[in-house]
Each structure stands twice: as C-alpha cells, then as structure tokens.
Symmetry: C2
C-alpha cells in the first residue's frame, strides 16, 4: 500500500500532530517509493515508559543520555531518530506521564461516592509501586521558568482541579461534604495534599505515614 502511513511494529500510526509534527521533516515517515525498511525492533511505548522512570528518578539535568540509553534499552541513534533529542524526549515523557496519570486519577476520582472517589484518588498514588512523580519532579526542578514544561503541568493541574471541584460540589449536594466548604479552595487543597503525599513518599515515608496524611486531608472535607 504505497503512500500510506506506516509504523514498523504494526501499531497505530500514532500521529498526535502536536507531538510528532516536529519530527516529520527529519524523519520523513511517509512512504513514497516501493521498498520498505526494516521495522523498529524496540517497543516505542515501553522505551518511553523507561525514559519516564529515569527522568522521574533523577530529574532532567540529572539524567544523562547514557543513562537514558541504558534505561530505555535502545541505541543512541534510535533515541535521536525516534524522539528527536533529550529535551524533546523529556517533553514527550512529561506529556505522556501527565496524560496517563490523569486518566488513572480521573478513573479513581469518579468511582463511588464523591468522598470515596477523592479518597481513591489519593490512595491510588499511595498504592503505586513507584513513588516518584515526574510532574512534581518537573515543577520542583524548573519552577515556572520553562514555558513548555509549565504549560504541560499547568494544563494537567487545571484539569484535575476542575474535576475535583465538580466532585466536591456533588459531595456537598449529597451532604457527604460540608456545605460551607469552598470548592475552589478545597480543590487547591486536595491537589496540594497529593503533592505533599508525593514529596513525603519521595523522601521515604512509610505507607502508614502516607495513609495518615490522606486520612487527615479527608477530615478537612467533612
């Protein structure tokens, strides 16, 4: 099928344009001539997941390209061909991490009653095997000095706060959450409580300590 979009491993073309448009010229993945190329041997998603872990563990500046190659189990050339450069890889890692963790959090948040949903959202992180969060890492490393990084973090935070506000309103309506609470304030607070849990976990806090934090945070809603 000449002229068709193509990915080596047979997976979906995956042309989220915001992500990949920048690579198109240099990679020219559009096939015009007849002969096909050797397909990619590694799993792009898996490699990206390993990059996410590496960056979350050591930060952007603290992760060398050699470390990335090692963690991702791909060759140097594959990294640059597939992900552009270190910064583009980082931005894609952050974008992907934000999307994935957002999906998980939304899923937890929207299950059960409003209060149970909020509890599940906080608890989801506590139950996670890895205790490092690329989002918090990025905020701490860059503050709001890097516009692209900030944009990704701000967008994710805004979406999560909006979802929290909706759930809090709902909880107020059912009486599960104190009617005098301001939704915006509570949403800010719960996001901060989640960050607090993440920082504590990153510092080596016990599961019991993390549960303490969660329980006390929930107390403020009733």
């Amino acid at each position: 099928m000449p002229g068709q979009f193509f990915t080596a491993d047979g997976s979906a073309p995956n042309f989220s344009p915001a992500i990949h448009s920048q690579f198109l010229t240099s990679q020219s993945r559009i096939n015009i001539s007849p002969a096909m190329a050797r397909p990619r041997e590694f799993d792009r998603e898996a490699a990206l997941g390993n990059a996410i872990s590496a960056f979350a563990e050591h930060g952007y500046e603290g992760t060398s390209t050699d470390q990335l190659l090692d963690a991702m189990n791909i060759s140097r050339q594959s990294l640059y061909n597939t992900f552009g450069d270190k910064r583009q890889l980082y931005l894609e890692a952050l974008r992907t991490y934000a999307a994935e963790s957002m999906a998980e959090q939304m899923h937890s948040l929207n299950g059960g009653t409003p209060l149970k949903g909020i509890e599940a959202m906080l608890n989801a992180f506590i139950l996670r095997p890895s205790k490092s969060c690329l989002g918090v890492s990025a905020v701490c490393e860059f503050g709001h000095s890097d516009p692209e990084v900030s944009m990704l973090n701000d967008t994710a935070a805004r979406a999560l706060r909006a979802a929290l506000e909706r759930r809090i309103s709902e909880g107020k309506a059912t009486g599960e959450i104190d009617g005098s609470i301001d939704e915006t304030a509570a949403a800010h607070f719960l996001l901060a409580a989640l960050s607090g849990i993440k920082v504590a976990a990153r510092g080596g806090a016990s599961l019991e300590a993390l549960r303490d934090i969660m329980r006390m945070a929930l107390r403020s809603l009733t």
Copy 2:
C-alpha cells in the same frame, strides 16, 4: 596572639565541628607562624546564602560552577578554598538552610496558641519573598538515594514533626484542637501540607491559592 584560632574578617571562629572539621586539613586555618595573611574580602555567610538561592532555584545538577560563581560573586579559587568543592558546598548550603528555616519555623510555631502557632508556621512560608525551598528541592532531586542528603532532610523533618506533635498535644489539652486527633498523624499531615504549599508555590500558585491550602489544612485539626 600566636596559636589562636582566627578568622580573617574578625567574625566568630565559627568552628561548628560537624561542619568544618572536613576542611581543617586542607585549609589549615590554625595560625602558627608570625606573619598574617590577607583577610577574606567577601562575606562567607552572604556567599553561602547566594549559593542556597542558586541551588534552590535550579537544583544541584542544574547549577553549574559558573552559575555559582556568578551568584555568589566570588572567584573560582575562593569557592574551592572556602567551600571545598561543589558537593561540599551543596551539603553545607542544605545544612545551613535546614538550620535557618528550622529556626524560623520553630519561632512561628511556638508563638501564640497552638493552633495560631501552626497557622503562623504555614503562613511564614506563604509570606516569604522567595518561593523555592532547598529542602523540598533536595528531596525531589535525590529521593532517599543520597545518604548524606537524606540524613540532613530526615533530621530536619523529624525535629519539626516532634515540635508539631508537642504543639498538637498542647492544643488538644486546651481544647483548641480536636481531642480525637492522633498527634503523629496530624504532624505527618501538617508537614505534608507544608510541602504541598511549597510545591504549589514553586509551580506559580497565587497567594490566594496558597492561603486556601493553609485554611483547609487547619480545618482538619478542629
């Protein structure tokens, strides 16, 4: 006065042994021979303070020696003579930052009623001109992978939690804080709330948002 301890600028000898013993051999600040040397022209504390700001703003890996020189306003040689190397400078910065912020927090915490003290402690960070915290930065950058960094952070956290527990007990006794609250859990929570405020501030949250977080955190105590 031969054989006497000496600091160039006439300030106190400042031999907190835990801090400086490591430099003694390489610096040999003990004066035996008669002639005196040129005194240091820069203010050690001020230079260290600037290093703290630089590290807090960009992290350990993200701050180059050139950036440090620039921020501290000293020469390359002075940095290495006075502080050892980049890592020793970082550790001293972290140690000094921890001591100073601990002193401030203790001061706020122990003023007024227990609840007012806790509020003042949280509010102290909100009111601070600089919104970056070297402690949180270090935890996020290194997790608990670096023993020396971890030790400094853990010690500071333990001390602050102990102080919080005492104040919470006091508040329970006076009835200002709900008697059913577990001191340890509440101390864990308040420290996490402070971290949450710091991460939010680092991400560019408004003062109003930070106050929201503080108010909601205090709500959980009553």
